[in-house]
Every structure is written in C-alpha cells, then in structure tokens.
C-alpha cells in the first residue's frame, strides 16, 4: 500500500508519542526510530499531528512543479477558505492563487456540490443500496473501512470524491480555454491532509489519476499571504461555489447538504472507530447517511492546515451563512460513479487457518498476562497487548519488555531486591518483597 505519511529518519528521536496515538497501532519504534507498518497505515495523519519533534511529514509536491506544465489549474480544497481571519472574500483567496502563477482556478467546493446533489438523488431513488450510506469523502475513513470493517464496504457511497469530480471538470475546462492537450494541463490539488494527498496519487475508486500534483495547504497559505495583498481590489468574480459545497470543509457540512435525510456526522478518528464498531454490531439507531471525518472539526482540522481548526470551522460556518446561493445544476449520479471496486485489505488476522489462529491467539493471551500491563511503550509497541501480538507474529521479542529484561538481570546479578532495577513509578515496595507479612492490610 502506498502512503503520504513519512518520517524524517534523521531527526526522529524514537519517543513513543506517535506509537501511542496511532489509531490502528501501525507504528513501532526500532533502533531509536519510528517505523510505520505500511499495511496498517490509513494515512489519517494523527502521528504528524502529535509528533513533538515534528518529524513526521505528509509528502507533497514542491511549488516549483508548476513549471512543468504550460497551463496549470489550482484545485483548492474548501478548507482553504477557512484559513484567513481577515477576509470573508473567497474571490480574493482565488485571485491570490492566480497571483501565485496558476492559470486557472477550479474549486473543489463546486465538485462537492455535484456530489451532494448526486447523493440526494441516490438516497431518494436507489433503494438497493444499503443504509446507512457512508460518505466516501474522507479517504482515511475509506481506508479504515477497507481494512477493519469489510462488512461495511458495501455501505460506502459509490461516488467519487469531490476533488476528483472537480479535477475531471477542471481538465476539460482548461483544455477548452487553452487549446492545449489534456496531458499538457497540470491540475494541482491543494490538500489539507495526508489522506487526500495519498488519494490523489493512488486513486481508490478511479482507474487513473486525475490530479497531477498535490500541494500542502500550509505551503500555499504562506504564498497566499503575499499574493492576496497584490490581488486587484475588488477581486474579480471567480467563486462559482455556494454554501453547500463550501460547507464540506467542516464537520457536519456534508450532512447539512442533505435536508430531510436521517443522518449523523462524526468527526475524529477514534470516535469514528467506535461508531463503526456499533454500526457493525447493529447497535446504531436507523440512519440513512453517515458523514465521517477522520480529523476533528472536519477537513479544517487536517494536519496540513495553517489555522486553528475551531477558528476555521467558525469561519466556514460564517461563510456558508453569508455566501450567496449558487446552486449548480444536479447531474446524474452516474456521472460521478466509482470505476473500481474497493478491495478488502485485512491486517488484523493472525492466520488463514483458524486452528493455527486460535493457537496464536491463545499464546497472545498467555503472554499478555505475563507482561506487566503498564502499556509504557518502552518496547516500541503501543501496549503490552500489542507487544504480545508482535512476539507471536515474529516482529517482537519477550526481552523487548524492559521489565522482563530487568527481572532477568536481577536473577543474573543475584539481587533479591527487584526495586533496585525499577524506576520509581514501577517499584512494587513491601507487597512484593515482604509478601505475606501483611503490612499492606
């Protein structure tokens, strides 16, 4: 599997912060460096968010890639509109993008409107699709479902993502405007997160790439601060999207575009995992649509954004309340149908043979009971249970546990005081050494 989250190996200090926060337990520290277990990574970006040394990065393209194409189109994610405290004018932001050297701007918010309208049609007319339909807008969620909730894969909305809808339209428009060939057009998506960056490079639902490059929203933001100042005043009328599409930038925005539908919006990857568990067990109330955003507050909370997610969520709400309604014409959902079937990528299976899997599971339980249960992370795994799994799967050893190692050292050294070998939080005091003396009771 291909990813956009990478690690600056030189600068990683081997702390276990990312290991602990990874929602899919995909990171281990080995030889003083964090390593990502590729099959388990969903590109949610939590590790980038929490890294105290800012070692983890989302791989994006440098801005000078624009030079490779005779004609370039910027595809700003709607979350970009929430990054600027001092302006409510989307036209000004888009003019700033032209000032950066793009020849054309095509809004992902416009693509989002098409997808919202097509979703309405599907919900109203297609009764064969299972309920609830789950939004396919967040690629981290789609990956999570493919990996861990295969039973829910049929519930994923069978429509392409807004940036894909926008990219396809943008290339057509650019060809018409420039007279160039489609391959001479450089379509650049301005991404708020690692998951979308990956999705542009390795499409999950389209046969081929529709975007030529991905730019980090933070990189673009820095440029825009100066180009927006130089933009004509008033800025030309460039914005073609309305509140429906722009709202997608925040949690609840996609849901707001589906009036009269029983739906629920959940943001934050851990919250989503809990909801999907319940949905899988049939424990959620009846619903027609679930909007799931891996980042807290929605796309405005992406790791590549510049503004505080709460501030930009408020900004997006304000924009959607004050922007004029510019309803795009609804197109048939077939226009935006997915081209590829999603593939189940299991990563939580111990063995293909159930008898062997049971044997491994029993061994994991046995090891787990022997480990101290402190989940300290010193072994490089997120928890004692994860270490037990690693041992059975052959990627960890019992002596990776510093407590187990200390016990061995203690035996070798012949000391009868275990506490001599333990840091203060973990010393066991009288209870262990004096045993039955009853001092504790």
């Amino acid at each position: 599997m291909k990813h956009s989250v990478t690690l600056d190996k030189e600068r990683c200090r081997g702390c276990t912060t990312c290991v602990k926060h990874c929602p899919t337990e995909a990171i281990r520290v080995r030889r003083g460096r964090a390593h990502i277990i590729e099959e388990r990574c969903i590109d949610c970006g939590e590790c980038i968010r929490v890294c105290p040394n800012k070692m983890k990065k989302a791989v994006c393209d440098p801005l000078d890639r624009l030079q490779e194409f005779p004609f370039t189109v910027a595809l700003p994610d709607p979350s970009l509109y929430g990054q600027f405290r001092n302006t409510d004018d989307v036209n000004l932001i888009l003019a700033g993008l032209l000032g950066m050297g793009f020849d054309m701007v095509s809004e992902v918010a416009e693509g989002a409107e098409y997808i919202s309208l097509a979703t309405r049609t599907l919900l109203a007319e297609n009764h064969e699709l299972p309920r609830p339909l789950i939004s396919s807008g967040c690629p981290a969620v789609v990956r999570l479902i493919c990996m861990r909730f295969p039973k829910l894969m049929p519930n994923l909305l069978p429509l392409i993502a807004p940036f894909e809808a926008a990219a396809i339209k943008a290339r057509k428009d650019a060809v018409a405007r420039s007279g160039l060939k489609p391959e001479e057009i450089g379509v650049f998506f301005i991404s708020p997160c690692a998951a979308k960056a990956t999705a542009t490079r390795y499409p999950m639902s389209l046969e081929e790439r529709v975007v030529d490059g991905v730019l980090s929203m933070t990189d673009v933001y820095k440029e825009l601060l100066s180009t927006m100042k130089k933009a004509p005043d008033p800025a030309p009328q460039l914005c073609k999207s309305g509140p429906m599409g722009v709202g997608w930038a925040r949690a609840g925005g996609e849901m707001a575009a589906l009036p009269g539908v029983r739906c629920m919006a959940v943001d934050g990857i851990e919250n989503i995992i809990r909801i999907l568990e319940d949905l899988e067990d049939g424990m959620l109330p009846d619903m027609d649509f679930l909007e799931l955003d891996a980042c807290n507050q929605g796309c405005v909370g992406g790791v590549l954004t510049a503004e505080n997610p709460y501030v930009s969520r408020a900004k997006i709400r304000h924009l959607t309340k004050t922007m004029p309604e510019k309803r795009n014409k609804a197109l048939s959902p077939d226009t935006f149908a997915v081209q590829l079937e999603l593939v189940h990528a299991p990563s939580w299976k111990l063995d293909d043979d159930i008898v062997e899997a049971l044997r491994k599971a029993a061994r994991i339980e046995e090891l787990r009971k022997q480990l101290p249960g402190l989940d300290c992370g010193s072994c490089g795994a997120p928890s004692c249970r994860a270490l037990a799994e690693d041992i059975v799967l052959g990627i960890g050893k019992e002596n990776d546990c510093i407590f187990r190692l200390r016990e061995k050292m203690q035996i070798i050294a012949g000391s009868d005081k275990a506490d001599d070998y333990l840091p203060p939080p973990f010393r066991r005091g009288e209870k262990r050494e004096k045993g039955a003396s009853g001092e504790n009771e």
């Binding site: 424990m283 293909d352 159930i354 008898v355 049971l358 339980e365």
Partner: protein, 148 residues
C-alpha cells in the same frame, strides 16, 4: 487437535458505561482469529446484552469465553437476585428494570430474547437469591472464516 482459547472478563456492576468492554475485547480477538463478520456480530450482541443485564440486575459478574474451531461459548455468571420466572423473562418486552434504568434507554425487555435469537444454543441456570448463569453457544458456519 482441538485448540481452544479461554478469555475471562470481569463485568463491573457499578457503571453503565463499563458495559460493552468485554464485548469489545472479545470482538477484537474474534476478528484477529479470522472469524466471519456475521458470527462476530452475533457473539458481540449476545455478550453486550449479557453485560447490560448483569449491570442492571446483578451488580456485575464474570464473563468467560471459550473459543475453538467449531464456535464460541459464552458463560455469564452473576451472584444477583436470580430470575423468578424464566419463561416470562424470555418474553419480548418483559422487564423488571427500575424506572431510572428505563429512562436511560435500557430495560426494554429485549435482552434475553436477543441473546436467545442471536445464539445457536442458550441455557439459563438460575436460583432466586443466589444468582444466574447464562451459557450461550454460537457455531461457526461450516467452511470456516469468510473472505468478504
């Protein structure tokens, strides 16, 4: 070559939000073993309903899970008040839960009926004043795990 796995959980009776922990832990292990999704779901529901029952009526108890290549056996054991009339307790909508519990959305009288519905076999041993043991079995479909 019968390989079996025994899992053991304590269900804390003092806390509603604690119900579901055993079910979640069991689910994770069933998934790792590669049990098909439908069987996992049935086991989860049986366990979850059982946990809720033990919290509401019996101030908690223990949950033991035995897994082998044929299926899953869940044994829920409590030292609660026991069930006076098992036949009535099995009726949908019958509940002895207090109003406070019902206000929280529990005690709808669907616990035992659901456990019966989603398990292949269920047995209840109960004695008033002593406690209740519910044993449920869920068989794996023939042919082992599925590949969705």
């Amino acid at each position: 070559m019968s390989e079996s796995l025994h899992l053991s959980y304590t269900v804390d009776g003092s806390d509603f939000t604690g119900a579901g922990r055993a079910s979640a832990a069991m689910k994770r292990i069933l998934r790792e073993i590669g049990v098909d999704m439908d069987t996992i779901r049935r086991c989860s529901i049986c366990m979850y309903e059982g946990e809720i029952n033990m919290v509401i009526h019996a101030n908690g108890g223990t949950a033991d899970v035995y897994i082998d290549e044929n299926g899953v056996k869940i044994v829920l054991c409590d030292e609660g008040p026991g069930i006076e009339d098992v036949e009535r307790a099995m009726q949908e909508g019958f509940s002895t839960a207090e109003q406070g519990v019902r206000d929280l959305g529990f005690g709808a009288g669907m616990g035992l009926p659901n456990m019966k519905r989603y398990s292949d076999e269920m047995a209840i041993e109960t004695e008033v004043g002593r406690g209740t043991t519910v044993t449920m079995t869920v068989h794996f479909p023939k042919g082992g795990g599925d590949e969705p």
